[in-house]
Amino acid sequence: MSKMNMEDGLNLTLGLPGRDESDCFKNNKRSQPETNDESSGTTENKEADMETAPATKSQVVGWPPVRNYRRNIVQKESGMYVKVSMDGAPYLRKIDLKVYKGYPDLLKALENMFKLTIGVYSERDGYKGSDFAPAYEDKDGDLMLVGDVPWEMFIVSCKRMRIMKGSEAKGLGYNV
């Protein structure tokens, strides 16, 4: 069992396989695993090829044995989905904030979705000239007016949106 000189590598780490291998398996008659890096074929020679540790960062083909469609299960968190409700309407919609480039883009989409005009945003007056104002619930549960914070901040803090009747929205936008 002297082949397996484990003394060197007894501090087992979940380190990169290449590092462990060249330390521990100097005499091992192991064949080189297939890697996606096809150029490894050109370095084949008669000597034990353990010294040329497999390219540790590259994928080994077909390993682990998981079928392709299982590798493509995407985490839901990669999108930024929020529900959008409108006062008075029995229906909800769901949108992915990631697809919009900024507030004008988002507001236009909302106008199309709910068939209404939202109006122009101004920092002082909110959404003047319209019956509706888009509001959102942030991470802390506070109801805020859409547009008060920079777009980048908005998309990470927005949990849910609500299109409010204009009169109710007057109170928003004046929080600290």
């Binding site: 979940l14 008659k29 064949s31 044995p65 839901k76």
Partner: protein, 584 residues
């Protein structure tokens, strides 16, 4: 041999025998019967209605139709399993076409076709649809080469269709509305409709109408384009369902403002109608807040597949604690060891567990470990089959499982980090796998991983007398390991090995056994062309294929053969081998 006419008396005997043999269903029994004598062989051939062919290249289609005259059902398997992991070139073979044409000519009454890992074209499906008038069941598992057009022809022509199941197939995206092809003027005989692997959306309106006029529908598996709202419309139309693949189980992604609005689904009543569901899968785009909707049916479930959803420990606990009758559970490792403990607590009747990796890379943080395995072994004593992906493992946990779960028939442990030893002791994983083959007396299927020496294989050869399928990858030691296995495992049928240092002398030690096997696969090992030639020479009825995964000619990579795939055949080397496959 001179032809012997069957005398009148003999014929009567054969007829009597046939009437008895009709009741024989097990194919093992039938194979035994057919070996008794010519008369019995004939009688058996006349009465066999279900045919299983484990390797489509082991026998020519013509030979099948010559021997069996009255088949109702055929199950054909093509490529070996390692093809699923991109280890086989795309154009290697396993074409269904020659089979369908020969069978179309011979079996008017064929009702059922099941195919696994075969190349099936739309034309092939059309031939099925047009040739077999009473066709009832089509099951395609891990197949490819066909699209929705082919499905459309089946739907149109097969008026008696009971079962249409697509299971992990790669279906060409041709945007053809096949669901609308089912006849719309009458009720259907559909009992099972599964298309969860389909990547493109189906026409929901047509699907809804189809379900509405399929009163016998018991099994329905939807793809990820069916939203939860749409699901509820379907389940209310089919309260008799016993097996449901839920589709997305999430809201529809509404980016197009033209999409119709929806109402918040009513969780309370959603599954209330479906009292009969015992098998639940899907969750292809899960919205976690809807998981509680399944609580009302959990107590009835015998099978639950959450392996397409990132469910964490807390979310799992809320579901699994109701699932006392669960026998089959598939999941992602996102549930962590904590989730597995919850499974162990609740599912004392569990028979099959599969834990898939969320992140298949070698240096990921593994959310499940030996802790989860141990917990399952303590809670689920009746376990028969396990597939477990993890980053780290200990011999102690595997040994414990071998002692706690004596009914294990299938043990597949995949330690994703290659060559990883027992992380606590630093020892190879030999003792763990050794304990499995020694203590699990019913073991028929084994997949090993981690750091292994010859000792592991000596255990397998010594104790694995019932093992029929063995999978080995990145095993660390020399040639002797293969020798132990081939000399010891007397029931070995399927051997698949990759990236292990097994060479010619190991290969030669199996010469006495290769004719009893379905196939042997050795890729990126140390067999040379000479060694393979020697096997081919000694065993003329073995088809010895040598090829490179990248389809370059010659089959060799440096001094060694890249892939060796060999199998017995009654009809010699296949005629459809592509250029890069060398048959020795």
């Amino acid at each position: 041999m001179s032809k012997r006419l069957i005398s009148g008396a003999d014929q009567v005997l054969e007829n009597v025998l046939e009437n008895v043999l009709i009741f024989l269903t097990s194919r093992r029994d039938r194979n035994a019967v057919s070996l008794v004598c010519k008369s019995w062989c004939r009688a058996e051939a006349h009465t066999r209605s279900d045919l299983f062919i484990g390797n489509c290249y082991a026998v020519a289609p013509r030979r099948v139709t010559d021997r069996f005259k009255r088949l109702r059902s055929v199950y054909l398997k093509g490529k070996p399993r390692f093809a699923d992991f991109s280890l086989m070139p795309a154009d290697w073979g396993a074409h269904f076409t020659p089979w369908v044409y020969v069978m179309a000519g011979a079996y008017r009454a064929l009702e059922k076709i099941s195919l696994k890992r075969m190349l099936v074209t739309d034309d092939d499906l059309a031939v099925i649809a047009k040739s077999f008038k009473g066709f009832k069941e089509l099951v395609l598992v891990c197949c490819e080469g066909f699209g929705a057009r082919g499905l459309g022809v089946i739907a149109t022509e097969c008026r008696n269709l009971r079962v249409l199941e697509l299971n992990e197939d790669e279906v060409l995206e041709d945007e053809f509305d096949w669901i609308s092809c089912f006849p719309s003027d009458c009720t259907t005989s559909l009992e099972s409709l599964c298309f969860d692997c389909l990547e493109s959306p189906v026409n929901f309106e047509a699907l809804e109408k189809l379900v509405a006029r399929s009163p016998l529908l018991k099994k329905l598996r939807l793809n990820r384009h069916v939203s939860i709202q749409q699901l509820y419309r379907l389940t209310s139309l089919a309260p008799q369902l016993t097996d449901l693949g839920t589709g997305a189980f999430g809201l529809q992604d509404i980016i197009d403002p033209q999409q119709p609005a929806y109402q918040e689904p009513d969780h309370g009543h959603t599954f209330a109608a479906c009292k009969s569901i015992v098998c639940l899968s899907g969750f292809r785009d899960l919205a976690h807040e809807y998981l509680p909707a399944i609580f009302p049916i959990c107590a009835n479930l015998t099978s639950l597949n959450l392996s397409y959803a990132h469910v964490d420990a807390q979310q799992l606990k809320s579901v699994i604690r109701h699932c006392h009758k669960l026998r089959i559970f598939w999941t992602l490792d996102s549930i962590c060891d904590e989730g597995l403990q919850a499974v162990a607590n609740a599912c004392t009747d569990l028979r099959e567990l599969r834990v898939f990796p969320t992140d298949p890379s070698e240096n990921a943080e593994g959310p499940v470990s030996e802790t989860g395995l141990l917990a399952v072994s303590l809670g689920c004593r009746k376990l028969q089959s396990i597939l477990y992906f993890c980053q780290q493992m200990t011999n102690a946990a595997v040994i414990a499982m071998s002692n706690n779960c004596p009914d294990l028939e299938v043990f597949r442990l995949c330690i994703i980090g290659r060559y990883r030893p027992d992380w606590v002791t630093g020892q190879p994983m030999d003792e763990g796998f050794g304990a499995i083959v020694k203590n699990c007396k019913k073991l028929t299927r084994l997949a090993v991983s981690g750091l292994l020496t010859d000792r592991a294989f000596s255990y397998i050869g010594q104790y694995g007398k019932l093992v029929r399928t063995l999978s080995v990858a990145f095993a660390a030691d020399g040639d002797t390991g293969l020798k132990y296995v081939l000399e010891g495992c007397t029931n070995l049928q399927k051997l698949e090995i990759r990236d292990s240092p097994f060479g010619d002398s190991g290969l030669q030690s199996g010469l006495h056994h290769f004719y009893n096997m379905r196939f042997v696969w050795l890729s990126s090992c140390r067999v040379t062309k000479q060694g393979c030639l020697e096997v081919a020479r000694r065993l003329p009825k073995l088809v010895v294929e040598v090829f490179r995964r990248d389809e370059e000619d010659g089959g060799e990579r440096g001094d060694f053969v890249n892939t060796l795939y060999m199998y017995r055949s009654l009809d010699g080397p296949r005629a459809d081998a592509p250029q890069f496959v060398k048959i020795l």
